[in-house]
Amino acid sequence: MSVLLEVKDLKKYFPLIKGILRERQIGLIKAVDGVSFAIRKGETLGLVGESGCGKTTTGRCIVGLEEPTSGKITFAGKEISASDGLGLRELQGRVQIIFQDPFGSLDPRLTAEEIIAEPLMVEKFNRCEAREKVKEVMGLVGLDSEMINRYAHMFSGGQRQRISIARAIIRRPSLIVCDEPVSALDVSIQAQIINLFMELQEKLGHSYLFIAHDLSVVRNISTWVAVMYLGKIVEVVRAIELFKKPWHFYTRALISAVPIPDPSVEKERHRILLKGEVPSPLNPPSGCHFHPRCWEAKKVCSEEEPGMKEVEPEHWVACWVVEKQLG
């Protein structure tokens, strides 16, 4: 299968500026600190991690909403650079984004039609053709086309998310970046939207970069899962393998922290409790960023940063201890 998106050593740093009269930079927030991955056509990469790990920033860099500090993003073989105006516009036809907050990300004073048809304004469609397209995608996402003239604020959370999805797919993009699209929804609605994502992928064949903090959701929908911690990816593995054999210790702690809705299973599970909190991206720990909280940390972990190594077929981990263990 062909590689659709390739990200190499992506970095995004935000300078922290202080001062009234003379502004000086007193620090650097290393939101994304050297992230590399690839997404193949028709597959879903789940990017999972807790708040502050940089997953949202990564997604925004890929769509062009943020300009990377360094690194290479290649889409369908062509390198993207945000500074090149044409490159960005062309990209926007092939890559789309869906946001988390269904209430904040839609302009409440626009009708469903206006919102969904907005991406079409770039290409020259007349109103009739545009309307036909809008009705078509509304059908695809399970919205009644009768509601085409309703204002955004009249829809429920789940319906708004469907509108966002309709807007994202109307130009048939090859890659859709989904930034926590179901976190703000109720459980029963969440299930509907997750199913919708999978249905659409079957029908239209696009790929997803699915960003979320809910490991269960990510694992359900993804082909591959990448775990992020403090700006770096610590583990990449097929979703099926994730629960069976997590190698990185942060991944293990993360999985352990997710409760499974089954008391008999829960009773048997071994619980790992991490101490402390995620350090600030202003001042990440030296070497492996996870070492202060890792119960298996060795001396080398605080000195040198481990690189991503393929420790098993189709399983990449960034950890000195694991690397040594698996030879």
């Binding site: 999978m198 694992r219 008391p263 008999s264």
Partner: protein, 324 residues
């Protein structure tokens, strides 16, 4: 009912608007035994938060507790005067809220806010209150407790703020702790830490816990008893193993099937419930409010809300279909 337990009977809290009545809580009854952790589960809008607030007469402005009894240590909490209920709040019954950033006073240090509990109930002088505050912060594993006591809420992370709230709630060693979605706003590893903390502290001091949540995973891990709410009413209640193994109400069954599980195959389609939870005003479906979304709905379901029928010792369901 044992000493220290809570018995809720036919609690009804309605919101009175200009044109309609919103029946946020419509006749719920349950019992919690001393020392156990009971979970009230439901989606947003089902009334679980309002029902919990009503227990200590904290129901939101614009609403009124229309009916019901909340029996606590032989007295009815709903019939108490404001002086009496103020003595109980924070001392015998405490609450932890969902979003600690808005639930804390932004211009007071968290030390001051925790000390306020001691000053209100135990009449301690300033030094004593400060000392006990730091003790509490250490008990909730707040890093750098002394320093944090002098910090303002905006200076702390979400996890630390929630720890401060837990410290505040447990200061006077209450007999009952009501935790309203205490971990919804924090990361999953912090969630694990906080819940373990609540569970272990509660065990230590023999505090009863009512845990309100929509997360059926947390419930499976921590709760011994569950109450499922839908559209202002309880539809099923029972002890945890039974409910998960043999759910009977169609809503409960669908809810359990709709959650993605970490230990299941990936790529599998989730079983969904069509439609969405109904609004609680005049548009509320008649009879059993779940009937428009229920696969097994019959004519009777539209007419009357079913009574509770015991399935087994610790399991009750309100459903015409289950009844047979």
């Amino acid at each position: 009912m044992m000493e220290g337990g809570l018995k809720v009977q036919d609690l009804c809290t309605y919101f009175f608007g200009r044109t309609s009545i919103n029946k946020a809580v419509d006749g719920i009854s349950y019992e919690v035994w001393t020392g156990e952790i009971m979970a009230i589960v439901g989606e947003s809008g089902c009334g679980k938060t309002v029902s919990a607030l009503s227990l200590i007469q904290l129901n939101p402005p614009g609403s009124q507790i229309v009916r019901g009894q909340v029996l606590w240590k032989g007295r009815d909490l709903l019939r108490m005067g404001s002086d009496e209920i103020c003595r109980i709040r924070g001392k015998e019954i405490s609450m932890v809220f969902q979003e600690p950033l808005t639930a804390l006073n932004p211009i007071q240090t968290i030390g001051q806010q925790i000390a306020e509990v001691f000053q209100t109930h135990e009449r301690l002088d300033k030094k004593e209150a400060e000392r006990k505050t730091i003790e509490m912060l250490e008990a909730v594993a707040m890093p750098d407790a002394e320093k944090r006591a002098k910090s303002y809420p905006f200076q702390l992370s979400g996890g630390m703020r929630q720890r401060a709230m837990i410290a505040m709630a447990l200061s006077c060693k209450p007999d009952l702790l009501i935790a309203d979605e205490p971990t919804t706003a924090v990361d999953v590893t912090i969630q694990a830490q906080l819940l373990e903390l609540i569970a272990s502290l509660a065990k230590e001091v023999k505090t009863t816990v009512i845990l309100i949540t929509h997360n059926l995973g947390i419930v499976a891990r921590y709760a011994s008893k569950i109450v499922i709410m839908y559209a202002g009413k309880i539809v099923e209640k029972g002890d945890t193993p039974t409910l998960y193994a043999h759910p009977r109400h169609p809503y409960t069954i669908s809810l359990l099937k709709a959650i993605p599980r970490l230990d299941q195959e990936s790529g599998k389609k989730l079983v969904t419930i069509d439609g969405q939870p109904p609004p609680l005003d005049h548009r509320l479906p008649s009879g059993c409010s779940f009937h428009p979304r229920c696969l097994y709905a019959s004519k009777k379901c539209k007419e009357e809300f079913p009574p509770f029928r015991p399935i087994s010792d610790n399991h009750e369901v309100a459903c015409w279909f289950v009844e047979g």
